[in-house]
Amino acid sequence: MRNLFCKSLVELAANPDFVFLTGDLGFQALEPLRDELGKRFMNMGVAEQNMISVAAGLAKGGMRPWVYSIAPFLYARGFEQIRNDICLHHLPVILVGNGGGYGYGVMGSTHHAIEDYGVLVPLPSMRVYLPAFDSDVRELVRQLMLIDHPAYLRLGLSEQPKWLSPSPFASWRHMLPGAGPTIVLTGPLAGGILDALHQSGISADVWLVSELPIAEPPADFLASIRRSNYLLVVEEHVAAGSLGQMLARQLLLAGVAPAKFVHRTALGYVSGLYGSQRFHRLECGLDPSQIVTEIRRAVA
């Protein structure tokens, strides 16, 4: 997604208010943007707290700042700057966190972002965007350039199956209609699971959520749960502050309660060992093969 992200921003570089701040990251990825933006591309050094507050000042001064780093270096290191300087003032700063979930794999726990939207969604006027596919990126970047509120964009590696032509980016998307269990996915993880379901021949009703806090669930989604009486939510994020929690609340408010609710989430570091993104997903039961097994159990 990162190269597409860069390419999409290059297309918007003519906007004189657009300024891009990076926390000393972007080697072999952001060079085209740097070359295009000139003095509006700023390497802010390894100083994320300053970078985020500077972005707030820039936005207050009428600029349109995008702030880029490895995800936790933004939302964890600079949380108070995000809260006080950006969100309290409803400023249109776009925070871009690379490596959502276990995206940085064996690089280790300091680089993982498994509680990012859980800590950001509660902040005033903050909205979180979770593109799932490469095909989401260009349109989403165009939309974000125009928003009037703080935003966090969680980037990962697209796992878009070759056979899939997703509908345009939206907060709720109905990905696969099916007569079986109701499934909610988010982020790039969705690609692999959709592919595994496609190959398994299981008939599941699969939905994709790409924006938080979640909008009111579509009527068709509620109807799906009433019919299937089974809801599975899969996300590369810990349970606290998760999409699953937010969704459970929405469902209770709507008076809809499936008999069976299964929530697959990031679980931290189960064995205490490190590995690829796939290794960590497997430890958490998030791998597409494990999800298919879970759904087969439900169908049986």
């Binding site: 707290q49 507050s53 500077v54 707030a56 820039l58 207050k60 001064g61 700057q81 006080n84 309290l88």
Partner: protein, 257 residues
Amino acid sequence: MHLTPELLLKARLRLLKMHYESGVGHIGGKLSCLEILMVLYHEVLEPNDIFILSKGHSAGSLYITLWSLGLLTDDDLRTFHMDGTRLSGHPPFQGIPAIPFATGSLGHGLSLAAGLALAKKLKGLRGRLFCLTSDGEWNEGSNWEALIFTRQQNLNVTTIVDLNGLQGFGRTRDIANLEPLADKFKAFGVRTSEVDGHDLEAITAAVGEDIDGPKVVIAKTQKGHGVSFMEDQFEWHYLPLSREAYRLAVEQVSANA
């Protein structure tokens, strides 16, 4: 409106009255920076300039200064610290157009000022940025990040340090000693001067001096300045004014004017 000794006295008395009526503390650090704020707003700031109060716990002095300019009213000041006020204990994020950013957690203001200065630079707009920090606030690493950034980008940001030597729970030299502080700023390549923070002319000259790029003015001040029993006394960082303390403070401030 230029800053006269009479106007400063009026502001100091109004500050004491506001604190007495509201029954809240933080008066010591407000008295240490009142001259700085009054000089800034009456002598230095031009229409395109922006000021950020990074030491948000001195919001009361900022409110009094805005009152002295007619930007807040007596009715506003009477609500200070009360339920339903716009005048919270630290600068609010909305409700007072002259205050661009909520501050209070230390170590934010200088970065915010840098961002505003950078926006002006990128947009080709006129105007300078001024930021008042406390001295204890330089315990915060983010301030040093901001200082390095203003130097690197040669931003037109003037930082004023209210050097009163006392912080939240003790003397600055006993907690994270940075003295001599001026040497630290100079080591970062930032133009640095030191002035008596209660000398109106000295502050005006140092703060108002136009240079291209960042500068720091260390204003040597006294916590509780102008009230003998508060001067340099740590507890007046927090204590509210009793009726007797208020009477004595007004008497001394008036006599010293």
